[in-house]
Amino acid sequence: MKGVFLASVTALAMSATLAHAATDKPAVVYDQAGKYDKSFNEGVYNGVLKYEKDTGQKIREFEPKNEAQVEQGLRRLAQRGYSPIIAVGYSMSAATEKVAKDFPNIHFSIIDSVIKLPNVQSIVFKEQEGSFLVGALAAMKSKTNTVGFIGAIDVPLIRKFSCGYKQGVKYIAPKDKVIVNFVGSTGAAFSNPTQGSELAKSQFSQGADVIFAAAGGTGIGVYQAAADAGKYAIGVDSDQNYLHPGVMLTSMVKRVDQAAYNVYKSAAAGGWKPGVVTLGLADNGVTWALDKYNQKLITPEMKAKMKAIRKDIIDGKIKVHDYSVDNSCNM
């Protein structure tokens, strides 16, 4: 009798912890840039803040200071039963995959990368659609019929940006020239503003007057060069228009805040599902930023045109090619 009682109590306790693990203990692990990076991570942080405000529930946060702490952090959160855990950024995919295999009962959501495991949800964005929009805007604004693109590394993720951008430019002005440059081939290319500014100066001297930088911190050098030269630049990931008002034409925004918010919300409602979630224009997952810092640069006609293009992409009238499908950008 006593044994049965004990066993049932243990079972009860266990099921209680499991139930808790699945819903009540959300957590997030940022990447090394930290939650105040003004870009990608800060977007997630804003989503976390909003969720905390809306529900009053505290979300456990972890900021790794170096590469090795990423896996440690994920593992410790998993051990303590936090679930779902959001891993921010493709640089965490290896660590997330490893930890997710060891903790099959914990739910993980990773942003910008795809992991095929039954307890992992992969959230990816249709960067090509947002890039198409800002490309179209760049072509409308350009007076020299030449625009530029500066990417960090020559990898499929960044090519998705450049390919979408090119298509957007050509949609408005088929004869416009697009100069494409890459900063380097290692992770340092995401934090090399010196090279970013040199590449931007080079593109300006070749006639470009709008540059879209998809290069993380390197972009800061590009925007500075544009401000110094009196040209235009386009920001990336989060709304960077405020960095240089009057210089930043717009920003290609990835709504990671919303993605994070939705993960927690669906998990709380018991609706968290593994698999791949793709967010595009239709889901407001990507968009172009229009606010008080750049509204003077955008004429009503441009605004109307952008609205029309956005609608056409959502309705499928404009097909934006995804570079990562066939690793080519033939249009």
Partner: protein, 322 residues
């Protein structure tokens, strides 16, 4: 075509200025017998200190002072390990590079909450371009006008300082008593010691000069060429400077030309990207990126002959062996 060439040379000057400062810093240190692989760390540390101080106090000059202080402090740590404690120069240098890479980000996070960056600098917080007299008037003079108004004029003060430091270094190293002793202590410290001159004090002075020059190089990166600090923003320039130092055989003027060559290759690389070369197709970015390094190896292996460093470099000085 001529315009493009001027623009490329202009970029060369901008990119090589910090390399020249860092390479000259390395020259002082290595000529005195201290191997300095921590040029990279000192540049990065100074870049952070300069940007942070400039953001807080609103003056690029105060930033420069703090950059130099940070860099000299790191140089003294290196000196303490290598001169006083006769430690291995490479180990100490690598340790400094590692510590600085982590510490700048950690302090930056703690102070500014910007993911390890400093706030963006503007106006007086940066060293801005100086237009030399008559630059606009000279603009239309053929050939020379372009060179004067676009290439020579329009840089910030630290660029001019970098180029002035080349003859100054030459003069110090070859024409002053300090320079003679500096060279001697790198070749044969025993002889210097026998002459009654302190090897330790001489070497400490050399690493401090090295610290000052690296400090200027770092301040240039974060408060002149760019507008703020970003983690790991030195991006291997200290190592490039070290390569230029060997390339220039530890002599000021050849070292400057080596730095200019690296800067020029970088400028060419930036222009060459995406350009289709007949018969070869588009040049991949990785190939262009590795060009300076490949060229250094090729030239060192085949063209400039043997690069022989100061004789006593990297060897701690022991007064007498019991």
């Amino acid at each position: 075509m001529y315009d493009t060439l001027i623009q490329m040379l202009d970029a060369t000057v901008r990119v090589s200025a910090p390399l020249i400062l860092a390479a000259l810093a390395g020259l002082f240190s290595e000529r005195a017998g201290i191997v300095d692989i921590s040029l990279e760390g000192k540049i990065l540390g100074s870049a952070f200190a300069a940007a942070a101080a400039s953001a807080v106090f609103g003056s690029a000059w105060i930033g420069l002072v703090f950059g130099i202080i940070a860099s000299v402090a790191l140089a003294l740590i290196h000196g303490f390990a290598c001169i006083t404690h006769r430690g291995d120069h490479i180990v100490s240098g690598v340790a400094i590079n590692t510590i600085v890479a982590g510490m700048t980000v950690t302090l930056g996070l703690h102070w500014f909450h910007l993911g390890g960056q400093t706030p963006a600098l503007s106006g007086d917080q940066r060293f801005l371009a100086i237009t030399l007299p008559f630059a606009h008037a000279m603009q239309d003079v053929p050939v020379i006008g372009q060179i004067y108004s676009n290439l020579i004029s329009g840089h910030n003060i630290l660029v001019y300082l970098a180029f002035i430091m080349v003859p100054v270094t030459y003069w110090i190293v070859y024409k002053t008593r300090f320079g003679l002793r500096l060279r001697a202590v790198g070749e044969n410290p025993h002889a210097v010691d026998t002459a009654g001159i302190s090897v330790t004090w001489l070497r400490y002075r050399a690493v401090m000069v090295c610290g000052v020059l690296c400090g200027v190089a770092g301040a240039y990166l974060s408060t002149a060429h760019n507008a703020g600090f970003l983690k790991n923003m030195s991006a291997g320039q200290g190592y490039m400077a070290l390569a230029a130092l060997i390339f220039g055989k530890w002599r000021p003027v050849p070292v400057m030309f080596a730095c200019l060559l690296f800067g020029f290759l970088n400028a060419v690389a930036v222009r060459l990207q995406g350009v289709i070369i007949p018969g070869l197709g588009e040049v991949p970015v990785q190939a262009i990126e590795s060009l300076p390094y490949v060229l250094t190896i090729l030239l060192l292996a085949g063209f400039i002959g043997k690069a022989v460093g100061p004789k006593a470099v990297g060897r701690p000085y022991v007064k007498e062996r019991a």
